[in-house]
Each structure stands twice: as structure tokens, then as C-alpha cells.
């Protein structure tokens, strides 16, 4: 059995404890022994992508120290996994990203499991997040796992491959353009009529969920958007 370290990411650390909990539940259900090194903080992506290379390199080195001892590092974020794989080699020369797996990569490519024994009797639409899909090349991996969930009804999201407009500090620096992108994403999400909108990154879901929440306060009951949920929580569900 590989020694599996869980990287929960700073966003989940601060806002979404239920997502890493779900990852632990899924992996333990499959018989893996998961460890959570408490000294972890952030992969450094915000700093790197905002242009603060030195700060990002310092955080990348901490990541290396904290996760160095593990055979496999599993994280519920396509974006953070891509950061370690694409940017660490340039920042610090570290190849630890080769051992970092976004959850669906670990489940399908390492554990070799497509049906994780979940049950989720709801309608769900799936947004393929940009970094997971394009930088990491996840393809339809999270969707394949979702398709195997008992009771789930998956609904296609129109213009699914378009960015939601989050982009880290882009959402602040170019707030108006970001908001225009978000408005379209929220409209498409509401058009599906699904109960839940699933994705592989809680940062994108914070953005989409924040937009939907804002709209829902004034929208008529039948035009309320889906609730954002990390797909790991669906995979952990046995309801």
C-alpha cells in the first residue's frame, strides 16, 4: 500500500472542511491509509499566478518538505495539482508534482476504481474547471466517477467548457469582466434545472456559488440555480 498524504488546499482549510472529509471517507472505504500532515498550508498558486515568484517558491519548498515523505499525495483540487506539476519544476526544480494526484486521477489511475460505491439520488450538472481540464488534462475522469454513482441523474451544462471567470486575483483585478463571465455561467447553470452543480475545485465553486447565491436572493423560485458541491462529496455520499 502506498503511503498517501492528503493535501486539503488552503481554500478547503479555510472554508470547506466537508470536502477533505469526503476524500478521507472515500479513500478509507477503498482500504487506503490516509495521513494528513498538519504542517501543510498553501501550494503557492495565488502568489505564482499573481506574479510573486519568490513568495511562491518559498511556499513550494514548504510543500516539498511537508509532503516529501509520501508515495502519493491526493488533493481535491485540479488547480492546485496542476500548480505542483506545471509550475514547481520552474520555481524550485521540484518534481514532487509527479506524485500529486487530483482525486479522480488517484481513484481511476492508481486505485483502478470507477464505482466507489456511492449513492446520490439527485440531478447534478458538472462544470469542468479550467485548470483541471486543460492544465492537468483530467478529461472526463470526474464525470466517469459520477456516472457510476447510484441514483444520480447527470444533466449537461451548456457551454460547460467556458471559464466561470474566477481566475484567482483576476476576479478582483478585472472584476467587471469576471462578473460578465460569471453571469453567463450562472445562467447556464440555472438553465439545467439541476439540484446540484458539481466541480473539481472549490475555488471555482466559491465563485459560481457566490454568483448563484446573489441571483437567488431575487430570482423567482423556479429560476433558482443549483447548489454548488464538490464532486468528492457526491462520491462520499451513501444516502
Amino acid at each position: 500500500m502506498p503511503r498517501v498524504g492528503l493535501f486539503i488546499t488552503c481554500v478547503n482549510d479555510a472554508l470547506y472542511p466537508q470536502t477533505p472529509k469526503a476524500v478521507v471517507q472515500i479513500l478509507e472505504r477503498l482500504g487506503y491509509d490516509v495521513d494528513f500532515p498538519a504542517a501543510q498550508t498553501c501550494c503557492g498558486q495565488m502568489h505564482a499566478n499573481s506574479g510573486y515568484k519568490k513568495d511562491a517558491a518559498a511556499l513550494a519548498r514548504s510543500f516539498d518538505t511537508v509532503f516529501g515523505p509520501y508515495d502519493a499525495i491526493v488533493t481535491p483540487s485540479g488547480s492546485c495539482a496542476a500548480m505542483t506539476r506545471d509550475q514547481y519544476p520552474h520555481l524550485t526544480g521540484s518534481d514532487i508534482g509527479q506524485r500529486v494526484y487530483e482525486l479522480s486521477e488517484f481513484l481511476l489511475d492508481v486505485a483502478g476504481v470507477e464505482d466507489v460505491g456511492a449513492r446520490f439520488p439527485h440531478t447534478v450538472t458538472y462544470h469542468p474547471t479550467c485548470h483541471g481540464t486543460r492544465a492537468l488534462g483530467l478529461g472526463d475522469k470526474p464525470l466517469r466517477l459520477l456516472r457510476a454513482v447510484a441514483g444520480i441523474e447527470l444533466v449537461d451544462l451548456p457551454a460547460a467548457d467556458q471559464c466561470c471567470g474566477f481566475g484567482g486575483t483576476f476576479a478582483l483585478k478585472n472584476s467587471e469582466v469576471s462578473s460578465a463571465m460569471l453571469a453567463d455561467k450562472c445562467r447556464h447553470a440555472a438553465d439545467t434545472g439541476a439540484e446540484y452543480l458539481a466541480a473539481a475545485d472549490n475555488s471555482c465553486l466559491t465563485h459560481i456559488g457566490g454568483g448563484l447565491n446573489r441571483i437567488d436572493r431575487t430570482a423567482p423560485a423556479d429560476r433558482r440555480g443549483p447548489r454548488p458541491v464538490h464532486y468528492a462529496e457526491i462520491l462520499a455520499s451513501t444516502a
Binding site: 498553501c42 510573486y52 479550467c130 467587471e176 457566490g210 447565491n213
Partner: protein, 481 residues
């Protein structure tokens, strides 16, 4: 279809470039563009149409990825031995009867071009669509020295008549719909036929008749080039309308302004690029007109052939190992058409002749110190890299340019503070705990609707969730017991 429809009343021409402040920072200019519903509708419709066509044509080729790899490799080779290839091109073009000029910058290129026009005894030129001449503002220079340049590409003609600026590399009038184009023709073309409708065929015919008169009287033509083949000294222009072919063959004198990055080592390299370019740009298997010429020839085409090799910042870009991949660009515009930012703002907001994702990495490098805001005009979604036929890793270059700075002082302090917390796990945990406890009085609201600056930039359109009551760390510690 619309030929029988009642003709809507003509509206006054207001060029988009006049409304969107040029020289303003991108976020500001973008905000203006976002507030123009007709512009946004036109852009969304046009980019959506080209996007779908491109996807279909690219999907037909099972060796697309290998073509991209090959093109990227050829371009990287060109960048590694650009000086040698430029001299080889000069030698071969000169031997074939062309005159090759070297221009360090826009000023030199414009002066050389104006001198050649005067030398030919002309005061007017007809133009083939060319980004290089837009970049050096050749038309504006000609105007200033008493010469006149007439655009003959349909979209460039529309933009010129509207006294506007191009908003797209390939489709410069993408921000206009056909009703607006009819109004522009009616009010500005002089010889527009009476009762002109907004039927595309009628509009094209009106432009054809207008342009034909220009082609027949022009003594000098100005073009750019899509490719310059070092091995043979040939130039290549790829186009759709045939106006380029008219300009390249009818006038006595031809001046081509060519960025030095347009060089290709061998003629056979065209095999790769001619498969990639039409599919990526117009979404066609093949473009209607491809003109190749090598120097001059008696009794066939222009007698006096000039090539102006243009640097204008390119060797500076070449010196940056990460940034120089921007010089691989073949100006197909696929990145503009898939960009969620470009689709919503259009080209004018970028404040540079090269807009969209490629502009965001090219403009700040061609003009260092200007356009520092452009590398941030992207959510780093990566759609541009996915479609780029020469595999320019645009997100990589965007991040690279952001890392060159400069950074705003307040932001720098905030980033430094965040890093200080994140670099010390005990501090980080304490900060998260403080946020959880500090937000407790407001927790029942579930979401924050208003935050102080810079959080206000977030809450302008989205709510922010509250920190949780219990975090993952507490849960983990509890179950370890």
C-alpha cells in the same frame, strides 16, 4: 432573405474606438466595452460562429497534434537562427530582383515606404490586409506626409470608412453587424448604390464596385506577408477575398512590410503551416487565395518589388527565453475567438493592435513598460493554448510576464502578509481560527454580501461564504484519538 425586408433607418456612425478609451488601463476600457450591448452581441455571435467552424475543420485531421508539434518546432528553430535566416532571405530575394530594406522600428519602416511611393511618382496606394502595417501605423504616417492609403480588404475597408480601429486580428470589423455596415457604406463610401440593403451579397457587391475602380488606377500597393521563405526569398500572402491578389499583381510597384519573425527556413515548411492556418483562422480547409511571389519578373506582376524587414521590438522579445514563443504567432486569431475575456470586451479594450490572449503577451513585450496591465487580462483558463496551432503556451507567458512586475505597493504588502502566514503553519492555523471566531456573530447569515476593499471587488457580483464552525483540522484531530 433580408433583401425584401424594410430597410431600417440609417444611424449616425460612432466608431467603437472613439467610445472605448485608448490608453486607459484594461479594466477601465473593458468596463466601457461591457456596457455596449450591440458590440457584445455582435462579438458573441461572430466568435461563436468561427469557433464552431474551426472545431469542425480541426476535428477532421487525425494528425492535428503532430502538425502543431511540427509547426512549433519549425518556429523554435527560426527563433534560434533568425539573423542567419534573415540574411539568407535577403540574399535570395535580392537575387530574384527584389529590393530588401531593413527597418529597426516603425518610424524607419514608414519613412522607407513613403520614399518608395514618392519615387514611383504616386500619392496613393492600395493595401492588402496587413497587421504589420497596422502595427507601425503606416496609414496614419502616410496621411501625415500627404499620401493616401486605401484599404481593400472588406473588413479593413469598413473600419477605415468608419474612421475606427480594427478590433480583431483576422476580422477587424467583427464588432459591427451588417446593418451597421450598410450605414457606414451609405454615409461614407461616396459611390454606394442607392437603396443599399443590409443583405451580405449586396454589401459585398457595393464594396467590389468601389474597390475595382481603385485597383485599376493604383500604381503602388502595400502588403504584409504571412510567411517569408528564406530558402527561396519568396513571400506568401494568404487571403479570402481576392483583393490581395489584385493588389499583389496589378500595380507596378509593390511594397511588403514583413516582421522578421515571419521567416520560414524551407519552402516545404509551408506544407505544415498551410494546413494549420486556414483551419485555425477562418475555419476552412483551404483559403480561397494564396499568393506566392519571388522578386520580380518581366511581364508578370509588379516590376518594382520591395520588402521591408521589420524589427520594431522583435529582437528584444527574442532575448526572453520564455517570452519569445510569442514570436511563433501566425496571426490566425484562434485564441481571440475562444477567449472568454475577448468575447466579452472585443479588441479595442486592449489598447493595442494585437488584442486578445496573443496581444496580452505580445504588446507588453513589443513595447516594454507599456501595457503592463494586459498580462492580467486573463483568467488563465488555458483555452487559448488549447487551440493555438503553433502551441504558444500563452498562460505560461502571461504568468512569466506578471512575474516581471511591476507590482502595486498595496498588493505587494498584502501578498507578503499572506505569504508570511502561509510559510508558518502555526501562524496559518491561528489566522484561520481567528477568522472562524471573528465571523461567529454573523454566521447565521451564511454569506457575506458586502466586504471592504479589495473584497468589495468580489462582492460587487458575488456573495462570500462564511468560515465553517468546525474546520477539517479539528475533525481530523478528534478522530485520531
Amino acid at each position: 432573405m433580408s433583401t425584401d425586408a424594410p430597410v431600417p433607418p440609417s444611424k449616425a456612425i460612432v466608431p467603437a474606438a472613439a467610445l472605448i478609451p485608448s490608453g486607459a488601463p484594461f479594466p477601465k476600457a473593458a468596463k466601457v466595452a461591457l456596457g455596449m450591448p450591440q458590440l457584445r452581441a455582435n462579438l458573441a455571435h461572430a466568435t461563436g460562429t468561427i469557433r464552431a467552424k474551426r472545431a469542425k475543420m480541426v476535428g477532421e485531421l487525425d494528425d492535428w497534434e503532430r502538425l502543431r508539434d511540427t509547426a512549433a518546432a519549425v518556429k523554435a528553430d527560426v527563433q534560434h537562427r533568425l539573423p542567419e535566416l534573415a540574411v539568407e532571405f535577403e540574399r535570395n530575394a535580392t537575387a530574384a530582383g527584389a529590393t530588401v530594406h531593413w527597418a529597426r522600428d516603425a518610424g524607419e519602416a514608414n519613412e522607407i515606404a513613403a520614399r518608395i511611393v514618392r519615387g514611383a511618382g504616386a500619392e496613393e496606394v492600395v493595401k492588402v490586409k496587413s497587421m504589420a502595417t497596422q502595427e507601425i501605423e503606416l496609414n496614419e504616417h502616410f496621411e501625415a506626409v500627404g499620401l493616401k492609403a486605401f484599404e481593400t480588404d472588406l473588413a479593413e475597408l469598413i473600419v477605415q470608412l468608419a474612421e475606427d480601429k480594427p478590433s480583431h486580428i483576422l476580422v477587424p470589423a467583427i464588432h459591427y453587424n451588417r446593418t451597421e455596415i450598410r450605414d457606414i457604406f451609405n454615409q461614407r463610401m461616396g459611390d454606394a448604390p442607392s437603396g443599399l440593403t443590409d443583405d451580405p451579397a449586396a454589401l459585398a457587391e457595393a464594396a467590389r464596385l468601389h474597390l475595382r475602380r481603385r485597383f485599376l488606377s493604383a500604381k503602388v500597393a502595400v502588403s504584409g506577408a504571412n510567411f517569408a521563405v528564406a530558402e527561396t526569398g519568396s513571400l506568401v500572402v494568404v487571403e479570402s477575398e481576392g483583393n490581395g491578389r489584385m493588389c499583389l499583381t496589378m500595380p507596378e510597384t509593390l511594397i511588403s512590410v514583413v516582421g522578421i519573425e515571419k521567416l520560414l527556413p524551407r519552402f516545404e515548411d509551408l506544407e505544415v503551416f498551410m494546413q494549420l492556418l486556414p483551419r485555425s483562422s477562418t475555419g476552412e480547409r483551404m483559403n480561397p487565395y494564396t499568393s506566392v511571389w519571388t522578386g520580380s519578373r518581366d511581364g508578370d506582376g509588379p516590376k518594382d518589388v520591395h520588402v521591408i524587414l521589420l524589427d520594431n521590438g522583435r529582437t528584444g522579445v527574442l532575448a526572453d527565453k520564455v517570452g519569445r514563443q510569442a514570436l511563433s504567432c501566425i496571426r490566425c486569431s484562434a485564441c481571440l475567438n475562444v477567449c472568454p475575456v475577448y468575447e466579452r470586451t472585443g479588441g479595442h479594450a486592449y489598447g493595442h493592435v494585437y488584442p486578445g490572449p496573443i496581444g496580452a503577451i505580445l504588446a507588453p513585450q513589443l513595447e516594454p513598460g507599456k501595457h503592463d496591465d494586459l498580462p492580467y487580462a486573463s483568467s488563465l483558463c488555458g483555452a487559448c493554448y488549447e487551440v493555438c496551432p503553433v502551441k504558444i503556451d500563452i498562460p505560461e507567458v502571461l504568468v512569466h510576464l506578471r512575474q516581471q512586475g511591476p507590482h502595486q505597493a498595496g498588493e505587494k504588502a498584502a501578498m507578503g502578509a499572506a505569504k508570511a502566514l502561509m510559510a508558518r503553519p502555526t501562524l496559518w492555523r491561528a489566522a484561520l481560527r481567528a477568522a472562524r471566531i471573528g465571523s461567529m456573530p454573523w454566521r447565521r447569515k451564511g454569506f457575506m454580501r458586502r466586504l471592504p476593499w479589495p473584497g468589495s471587488r468580489w462582492t460587487v457580483s458575488r456573495d462570500m461564504p462564511m468560515p465553517p464552525k468546525e474546520d477539517f483540522r479539528d475533525w481530523w484531530k478528534e478522530r485520531q484519538r
